[in-house]
């Protein structure tokens, strides 16, 4: 029998791990402003945010000059694989061990909520970009959360309200059967009915339905509604649109994707998505400034940026400007500064951050062009109407956030 205890194996494992974990022992120093970004780089959100988001933030830091008030800006990012555990433990380690000053994160709502809580505990700003849940600025609001880009309320209200105004009075919903889909449908229904429209059908589909949308779409068509609202996202949305085209549903009903990104339109092609309505806060071709930025992005990534990636850029730029104005990277001071300035950059002309953390700005109802209308690559959208920020987002009367009552 050997003299060396066999419990040496775990000890050896720990030692090996020590080598790999060495970066965790990095020295904490206050001479830098550290920005952390946690998102889904290899999973379902990798096209809408992913590595493109990582690059967008790099551009923001470069455009700002690499330093703020003489302090260097450091940037760290990680893939959270859509696992809340991983996102939370990585972010926590960055806060505790690497002196992170600000966290940008998202991709899924579970992650967004966990990171918001964590950042509030650490008293550091958290910018939720891709997470859609409106709970971030309602039940779960904190003094340190800034919810950038869209949320379920704004896309649902924006789409529903604007389309009813355009004449789409009767609706059929195809909804993803979980909280996200349900909240999109509920918000949209409220607006449709308030404006005098009617919801004729509401069909739920389980996640990952892929090819079996045919049966559900035919039911929607049988209701004879004018508008087919797709309260779903990602691969399900793409397959629903494909099936809608195949079964001729897209010819008798106008499709409205409550939440979609340019990557999905690109993947489907204009043939299949033409005429589809959608709401978005930003489009690469919407202004001279956005075009200029997008061309730079295109050079690096070979695809046009989504509104998420643009929001990543803008949120970091906004943060850095606030740090510069406040003269410090102290969480409370920066949050105070953030809530008292207006945002004017290539993302939005006139945005501001409310007391509940919601970044309010104008959204736009857009429609996908037909192949004939599209004149150059990625020329996909035409703008139908603007949706003012105070109409799209939760109002003071409705808010469940104690910070804004």
């Amino acid at each position: 029998m050997s003299r060396i205890p066999h419990a040496l194996a775990p000890a050896a494992a720990l030692a090996i791990a020590a080598g790999c974990a060495a970066p965790a022992l990095a020295q904490y120093s206050d001479d830098a402003v550290r920005i952390g970004f946690v998102t889904d780089i290899s999973g379902t959100y990798s096209d809408n945010d992913g590595q493109g988001g990582v690059e967008a933030i790099k551009m923001a830091i470069e455009d700002f000059g690499g330093t703020v008030n003489g302090k260097k800006i450091e940037y760290m990012y990680a893939d959270h694989l859509n696992k809340v555990d991983l996102a939370a433990s990585t972010s926590r380690e960055w806060f505790d061990r690497r002196g992170m000053d600000m966290l940008v994160g998202g991709a899924n709502s579970g992650v967004g909520l966990a990171l918001a809580k964590l950042s509030a505990d650490k008293k550091k700003p958290f910018f939720a970009v891709t997470a859609a849940t409106a709970r971030l600025t309602n039940e779960e609001c904190t003094p340190y959360t800034v919810h950038y880009a869209y949320d379920t309320v704004s896309v649902a209200r924006g789409t529903a309200g604007a389309i009813v105004d355009e004449g789409g009075k009767t609706w059929a919903f195809l909804t993803a059967d979980y909280a996200f889909g349900a909240s999109l449908q509920d918000e949209a229904t409220k607006v449709v009915e308030a404006k005098g429209g009617k919801v004729l059908a509401a069909i739920k589909h389980p996640m990952g339905t892929s090819q079996n949308f045919s049966t559900l779409l035919l039911q929607a068509q049988a209701s004879r509604a004018q508008i087919l609202a797709l309260a779903t996202n990602g691969e399900d949305l793409i397959n629903a649109v494909k099936s809608a085209n195949e079964f001729g549903v897209s010819r008798t009903m106008k499709m409205a994707a409550v939440l979609t990104h340019i990557t999905e339109v690109h993947a489907l092609g204009l043939e299949q998505t033409q005429g589809m309505y959608l709401t978005d806060g930003w489009y690469w071709d919407q202004s001279e400034a956005s075009r200029e930025w997008s061309k730079r992005f295109f050079e690096k990534r070979k695809k046009m940026p989504t509104s998420m990636q643009a929001a990543d850029y803008s949120s970091v730029l906004t943060y850095l400007k606030a740090v510069q104005a406040a003269g410090t990277d102290d969480g409370d001071a920066v949050m105070k500064q953030l809530k008292s300035t207006r945002i004017h950059d290539m993302y939005t002309d006139d945005g501001f951050i409310r007391a509940d953390g919601r970044m309010v700005y104008d959204m736009f109802l857009r429609q996908v062009k037909s192949p004939q209308e599209s004149k150059y690559p990625w020329d996909y959208y035409k703008t139908v109407r603007a949706i003012p920020g105070d109409e799209a987002f939760t109002t003071r009367a409705e808010t469940k956030c104690s910070l804004w009552k």
């Binding site: 059967d177 059908a201 589909h205 045919s214 993947a267």
Partner: protein
């Protein structure tokens, strides 16, 4: 919020027909799995990833080599079969003598690897592929408009299933394969190269998955994860039909396609779980499946 209650008859017919369309698709996928399990005793969990490869090869054939749908209908399954044969020869072969769990785990690893690989090249949103001109358009059947392509899918799948069943149950080659499952040593003693037969069988089984991929490419978006959602359901289908029964796979596939679409009419939220509930029930009452024999 309003729901549709009391489904009118024409709509019901439409749903049943669509259920058959989806079911014939499941049948072909399950067939591949059943063949591989029946003859190799390996649960090919990478079937979904290989189906995905078939779809991607179809897209690649058109976009990189200018080959049309009809060419890819033959070439893509062959390409997938080649991948399968290589995997079987170099890696899978070593796992036969071990507990089936290792084969399962290996397959899980293989599918993660293939999915990750395709994702790193093509992203998550995938690529769009349209049906060939001869099959596009739709026919008005009175109670519904049936896209021609879907009709083709039913015809092709059922034809393939019938052909496979015929080969295995009624030809000499099939007889060798069946004998090889029951008593490989004896069959080898008769001078038949059993390992080669096994390799070819695996190749054929995954070729069926590849063919399903070609058929699916115009219907669903070609994405790296398209197989992952499908495999769990197909798996349940095979278990219900009988892991080693060819007839079982075909019948269970068709029946479950119809059941799923009926669930879609009356209780859509459950259409994902209904297959698992049935699977659990079948496993508890008749674990070999409806048509299988407990090997």
């Amino acid at each position: 919020m309003m729901e549709i209650f009391g489904v009118p008859l024409p709509v019901l017919w439409a749903q049943l027909l669509l259920g058959l369309v989806n079911g014939s698709f499941y049948a072909m996928m399950s067939l591949g799995l059943a063949i591989i399990f029946g003859l190799l005793n390996v649960i090919n969990l990478s079937h979904g990833a290989l189906y995905m490869l078939g779809a991607f090869f179809t897209w690649m054939g058109l976009n990189y080599l200018g080959l049309n749908y009809w060419a890819m209908l033959v070439l893509a399954p062959l390409a997938v079969a080649l991948v399968g044969v290589v995997v079987e020869r170099t890696m899978l072969r070593h796992l036969y003598r071990l507990d089936h769990m290792y084969g399962l785990l290996f397959m899980i690893g293989l599918s993660h690897f293939l999915e990750g690989l395709m994702r790193s090249f093509y992203g998550v949103s995938g690529k769009s592929y349209s049906a060939p001109a001869a099959l596009s358009g739709a026919t008005d059947l009175g109670f519904m408009i049936m896209p021609n392509y879907r009709g083709w899918v039913v015809a092709a799948s059922l034809a393939m299933c019938l052909l496979t069943w015929f080969v295995i149950e009624r030809t000499r080659l099939g007889a060798y394969l069946r004998a090889g499952t029951e008593n490989p040593k004896l069959v080898e003693a008769f001078g038949i190269n059993v390992p080669r037969m096994v390799t070819l069988t695996y190749g054929f089984g995954v070729a069926l998955a590849g063919l399903a991929g070609v058929l699916a490419a115009p219907v669903v978006q070609v994405t790296p994860m398209m197989g992952a959602n499908l495999i769990v359901v197909v798996f349940a289908v095979v278990v219900i039909g009988g892991l080693n029964s060819i007839l079982g796979a075909i019948v269970a596939g068709l029946v479950l396609g119809v059941v799923e679409s009926l669930a879609g009419v009356y209780y859509p939220e459950a259409s994902a779980t209904v297959v698992f509930v049935i699977m659990a029930i079948v496993l508890m009452l008749r674990p070999a499946g409806l048509f299988g024999r407990e090997a």
